[in-house]
């Protein structure tokens, strides 16, 4: 299978021992909590996001069971409200983005030929915050205090007079808490991709997956503040009696919607973009050629990232805004389909011109194209204001965004899981089991969600805990429920496949697929230092080109081995020219302490124990102060004149 054997490491045995000593971690309880290794953190992101996916999926199955027949009494309206809100909130915030950031964490340093992320401790901190924020939100469910007003939490429904209790405080504080992790990870991705690329990796040789992650990170930087502000205002309105959303006191309810969708529409691309990056990363190995139109895809990624900030009002076509603004946002929403179309045609051309290797990852990519294009088709229909106003808040919308998000994000993630499983675990998966899982997932997905288009058009509104038999929605709802069970069985088989691979899979070679990017030049799983010799990149497909491969082999110079310490290379932002050697931080418990202090802060804010919250802020400040405290250096090294 492998077209290239892994090159014999160019580092001597002595260098390897030194590298192991500086980068390796002895397994211990302390190292489990203090690790800053991007591969371990990336794996944890994947597993934790998978756990939240499981919880959100079980919520969905419960709801589908309730909806299987009319006037079912399995769930009370209150329980149903909490379930659909947690399902949506968790899928968007606790599964999709963290899962893709998990891939990014594991892969970006490997793909750009570095030994870690730019800020390894910040990376660990981001993971702990994500984990704790996710638990913070999920724990509210068994207490019946989970968010219950839909994942976009519209005011005035969410104001305290209309929804008393902790529900929406859990929502706003939970998302503010999680926002810290997302922002930290985004800054880390941008800086890593700018400064830590291997020498020779100029911007036009950066893998498409890394482009996608960086564009996503930029969107997070500029979109997330709107959501954070919205949630802060909601919390202040509910808890401290401000009037931001209160029309009776000069406030405005639409302010919530504007801010929410200024974040929310870019967020659709924040979720889909890295998944499309996975598609571009997986495709070359299974078509035996580079992706067609690399510069066009990069331009499409950047264009989408920018235009996505100009389409938010298409979520608000039914709110009675001025007609002229509808025309503008309708046009922008139509234009943004062009760069998405460019990517789709580039992948189709890649498949048409390449030699297809029909393995499980490629199956998922084909499933992705079919499903995502169908979702994009209904999406283009929404860009027409008149149509949108007809079907808004019906199951047609539910069908649309599940096609986009399952097609556009979950299928590529599944492709990515099968594709990188050998790299992550060092084991191969079972191909037959993988195929069974694919067909069940694919069929289950369409059987569940296709009928929703129909009963949406027939008038069934979303977010109703039950329905009567008269409108004739029963049969289609039963079909959807059966489909959801098929989908669940398929996903269970994926999980069994992963566990089977870890337990029983045959050991994976370094490059089982003949992939083109640098992660396939490392061992499976990679050593803690990733590369014994940091590569020198000569093309867009470094693992396929001879000079790049040879740069990691025998005869490598000491300045790319860097065995004397925990070190890696900085290069210039645009051209990837070598700049200097840097020392990377050691494992530390500070990230965990900081995240726990924040957990105390948000929990005490939730229960209104303000003095403890203030104490937590002091701990946060002190931890950051200690974290960044400059080490004492001799005057000579510092360069001090007196």
């Amino acid at each position: 299978m492998s077209t290239t054997a892994a090159p014999a490491p160019g580092a001597s045995r002595q260098d390897l021992t030194l590298l192991e000593e500086h980068w390796g971690e002895r397994p211990s309880l302390r190292s489990w909590f203090s690790t800053v290794d991007h591969k371990r953190i990336g794996r944890r992101y994947l597993v934790t996001a998978g756990l939240f996916f499981f919880l959100a999926g079980v919520s969905a199955l419960t709801m589908r069971t309730q909806l299987a027949r009319p006037e079912s009494r399995l769930l009370s309206p209150q329980e149903y409200n909490q379930l659909f809100t947690m399902h949506g909130t968790a899928m968007i915030f606790l599964f999709a983005t963290p899962m893709l950031f998990g891939f990014g964490n594991f892969l970006v340093p490997l793909m750009i030929g570095s030994r870690d992320m730019a800020f390894p401790k910040l990376n660990a901190f981001g993971y702990w915050v994500f984990l704790l924020a996710g638990l913070f939100m999920w724990v509210s469910l068994p207490f019946g205090a989970a968010p219950n007003a839909g994942w976009f939490a519209y005011v005035p429904l969410t104001e305290r007079v209309n929804t008393p209790g902790l529900h929406l405080d859990v929502y706003s504080l939970g998302l503010l808490f999680l926002g810290i992790a997302t922002t930290a990870a985004s800054i880390n991705f941008i800086v890593t991709a700018l400064k830590l690329r291997a020498p020779g990796m100029s911007l036009n040789r950066v893998p498409l997956f890394v482009w996608a992650i960086v564009a996503t990170a930029f969107m997070v930087i500029f979109a997330l503040p709107a959501l954070n502000l919205d949630n802060a205002m909601l919390f202040l309105d509910r808890r401290f009696g401000t009037h931001f959303f209160d029309p009776g006191a000069a406030g405005n309810v639409l302010l919530w919607q504007h801010l929410f969708w200024i974040f929310g529409h870019p967020d659709v691309y924040i979720i889909v973009m890295p998944a499309l990056g996975i598609v571009s990363a997986v495709l070359p190995a299974f078509t035996r050629r580079g992706v067609v139109g690399y510069p066009l895809i990069v331009l499409a990624i950047v264009t989408i990232a920018i235009i996505s900030f100009g389409v938010w009002v298409h979520h608000m076509f039914a709110t009675g805004l001025p007609r002229l603004s509808y025309s503008f946002f309708s046009a922008a929403s139509s234009i943004i389909t062009i760069p998405s179309g460019i990517q789709i045609f580039a992948w189709l051309a890649t498949m048409a011109l390449g030699r297809l290797v029909l393995k499980v990852p490629l199956l998922y990519l084909i499933g992705f194209i079919v499903t995502f294009v169908l979702g994009g088709f209904t999406g283009a229909m929404f860009a027409l204001t008149a149509f949108d106003q007809q079907v808004t808040d019906s199951y047609f919308v539910v069908a649309h965004f599940h096609y986009v998000l399952i097609g556009g994000a979950v299928f590529p993630m599944l492709a990515g899981i099968y594709y990188w499983l050998p790299k992550i675990t060092g084991r191969m998966y079972h191909e037959g089991l993988g195929r069974w899982a694919f067909w069940l997932v694919f069929a289950g997905m369409h059987v569940t969600f296709f009928p929703m288009h129909l009963y949406g058009l027939f008038g069934m509104p979303r977010r109703v805990y039950t329905y009567r038999s008269e409108p004739g929605w029963d049969a289609w709802n039963l079909v959807s429920t059966i489909g959801s069970y098929l989908l669940a069985i398929g996903l269970l088989l994926v999980l069994i496949g992963v566990v089977h691979a870890i337990r029983r899979g045959r050991p994976a070679p370094p490059d089982p697929w003949g992939g083109d990017s640098l992660e396939w030049s490392t061992e499976s799983p990679p050593k803690p230092y990733n590369f014994p010799v940091l590569p020198e990149v000569h093309s867009l497909h470094p693992t396929w080109d001879e000079p790049s491969r040879e740069s990691m082999g025998a005869g490598a110079t000491e300045d790319r081995i860097l065995a004397e310490g925990r070190r890696t290379l900085f290069t210039s932002e645009l051209d990837g020219r070598r700049e200097r050697v840097v020392e990377m931080p050691e494992a530390s418990l500070q990230p965990l302490v900081l995240a726990l202090a924040l957990l105390v802060f948000f929990t005490t804010m939730l229960f209104a124990w303000y003095p403890v919250a203030i104490a937590a802020v002091v701990v946060v400040a002190a931890t950051i102060g200690v974290w960044l405290w400059p080490p004492r250096r001799p005057e000579r090294e510092l360069g001090v004149s007196t």
Partner: protein, 208 residues
């Protein structure tokens, strides 16, 4: 260590033999990205102010609240905006290895920033007699926007004190090691510039 700026400092024998080709550090990029996301947050906050104002129509500020008086905020501006200068001076000093300039500059900024916060407290005492955060959306906007900025000033002052403490200890900063000084300076300049936008929005724009 060269103590003079200019071309000679960059092209002299000493510079050529000791200077490594170094681009922006990761810390610099990290701080710039952090400031970018923070600036977006302030943009959303001020955007919300104008959105609520124009959607409200009618007189602004609404209700019985009078237009904000300008004297105290202009004095606050006069204290805060120039407080960036000592930071610049301190940073240029430590780039040349002059630790005394770092210490003196940081101390000056600390005094100016603290004065700003004291003035803000007196401004609040004055306003609270007229309206509070719960009076109406204007009151909420006024106190949340200025309070959020004040919080940023406090964070900035904490960073400056922290730098000052580190520099007083010795062995922290010098001509070759001053990333932390530069990053904190970027944050402080940001806090300053945002104040100009807040002055315009909260204090000047109701008079337009």
């Amino acid at each position: 260590m060269s103590t003079r700026g200019g071309i000679a400092a960059a092209t002299g024998t000493e510079a050529l033999t000791t200077e490594l080709p170094v681009g922006r550090s990761t810390g610099w990029w990290g701080m710039v990205m952090f400031v970018a996301t923070e600036a977006t947050l302030f943009a959303c906050l001020l955007g919300s102010y104008f959105y609520l104002r124009f959607q409200h129509g009618g007189s602004w500020p609404p209700g019985d609240i009078s237009k904000p008086k300008l004297l105290v905020p202009l004095v606050m501006t006069g204290v805060l905006l120039p407080s960036s200068l000592p930071v610049v001076w301190a940073e240029h000093g430590i780039r040349k290895g002059q630790r005394w300039r770092l210490r003196a500059g940081l101390a000056a900024t600390l005094v100016m920033g603290a004065t700003f916060l004291i003035l803000q407290a007196s401004e609040y005492a004055d306003k609270l007699r007229e309206f509070t955060i719960t009076t109406n959306a204007y009151g909420s906007l006024f106190f949340v926007i200025t309070g959020f900025h004040g919080l940023h000033v406090l964070v900035g002052l904490t960073m400056i004190s922290w730098l000052l403490a580190a520099s007083l200890r010795g062995g922290s900063f010098g001509a070759h090691r001053h990333d932390r000084v530069r990053n904190a300076a970027i944050y402080w300049h940001f806090v300053d510039v945002v104040w100009a936008a807040i002055l315009f929005t909260i204090y000047l724009s109701p008079r337009l």
